[in-house]
């Protein structure tokens, strides 16, 4: 794969790590759209705990894996909630990338025209050349789609 693609992947992953590792601490902790819809008919206190009435949310049961070490987006044993939330987010991004990327890599198609085009572009060092090769790959894809 081209260096440019690796750079894009690394950049994207870095953004995801920052969002899950830092920005996540500023997320709203109120119930989401579905949970709040199920609270209709109940009254809740300032912490969104049900204090009265009757509503579908009262049927909710505990999660099967509610005592997992990363349950509820925190790392068990870490007192500092900023670190706990951030670390769980970072681990989540890495695990999701590893599982998703790994599975997709194993499932991918091998040895077709567009892959060859990609490999050819590997040899080109300047960005201009790489872009030209990119365009050619796109052309080939378009042509293939039109003829099929």
């Amino acid at each position: 794969m081209k260096n440019r693609t690796w750079a894009f992947l690394a950049g994207g992953l870095l953004v995801a790590l920052l969002l899950a590792g830092v920005v996540s601490n500023y997320a709203s902790s109120h119930p989401d759209g579905l949970d709040s819809s199920l609270l209709k008919g109940c009254t809740v206190d300032a912490d969104d705990n049900i204090v009265g009435g009757s509503c579908p949310a009262q049927q909710a049961r505990d999660h099967e894996l509610g005592d997992s070490p990363l349950a509820d987006y925190g790392v068990r044993g870490i007192e500092n909630s900023f670190v706990s939330t951030g670390l769980s987010g970072v681990l989540g991004v890495l695990v999701t990338f590893a599982i998703g990327g790994g599975a997709f890599w194993l499932l991918r198609r091998r040895g077709d025209a567009s892959t060859t085009g990609d490999d050819t572009a590997d040899g080109t060092s300047s960005t201009g050349d790489a872009t030209a090769a990119e365009g050619a790959t796109g052309d080939a894809v378009t042509a293939a789609r039109h003829t099929s």
Partner: protein, 233 residues
């Protein structure tokens, strides 16, 4: 939009688990045609990015209610509908099995709503909008925004159908009330989904237009895909 345990009864949850498994198998079989050396790592990144942004609950205008990205439209735009649905499903499985978010018994229901319905609705809208709107940055932005917004509302109605089939509380015949509440609140959440999706897609289209699946796969008859990606760049 993750359903917690106990909200939908066991038999209905089991039926949807089987349905989701069958649909995901179809996505694997059909998605392999799209998955090449370039799309596979991109799909891994899309899944990781959706996981990250799903952590970012944003407040909506209604007091005391938040929403977060579902990601179906974003995934459909960047890696196509088949692989896109798989991306969202990977996120939901990780959340249920590691982070205690969304019951494990409810996983089939959650995959049906967010990975399957959300992504499918988004891609249908993307396919229509990209053909009728001008191939400009604005056209791409509107496509991403509208597809994301409406896909969230459609996905929320998937839950309403499931609740009608197996909800654990008798609504006293007021299913329409639940449908209305869900649609209204998810219209607002959909605005956030639309803004995040449009911003992300425009950024990728600017840096690497060749990595936007929808621009590659949906050329207009008058405008070949390559010229279009050049124009968006």
């Amino acid at each position: 939009m993750h359903i917690s345990n106990g909200i939908i009864d066991g038999p209905v949850a089991a039926v949807f688990a089987a349905l989701a498994l069958a649909a995901l198998t179809a996505c694997v079989l059909r998605g392999r045609r799209d998955l090449d050396d370039r799309l596979a790592p991109m799909a891994g990144l899309v899944a990781a990015f959706i996981f990250a942004v799903q952590m970012l609950n944003f407040p909506i205008f209604t007091a005391g209610v938040s929403g977060h990205l579902l990601g179906g439209a974003l995934a459909a735009m960047l890696v196509g509908p088949w692989v896109g649905a798989l991306c969202v499903a990977v996120v939901l499985v990780v959340q249920a099995l590691i982070f205690g978010d969304g019951g494990v018994a409810m996983l089939g229901l959650n995959i049906t709503n967010m990975a399957l319905i959300g992504t499918a609705a988004a891609y249908l809208l993307i396919a229509v909008l990209l053909r009728v709107l001008p191939r400009t940055r604005a056209g791409l932005a509107v496509t991403a925004f509208v597809a994301a917004l409406l896909s969230v509302v459609v996905a929320s109605q998937g839950f309403v159908v499931e609740y009608w089939l197996g909800g654990t509380t008798d609504l006293g015949g007021n299913l329409a009330g639940l449908a209305g509440t869900m649609a209204g609140v998810h219209l607002l959440i959909g605005i956030g989904e639309g803004l995040i999706t449009a911003t992300t897609v425009l950024t990728v289209a600017k840096v690497r237009p060749d990595l936007v699946y929808a621009l590659r796969a949906l050329p207009t008859p008058a405008t070949p895909a390559v010229e279009v990606s050049g124009g968006v760049r």
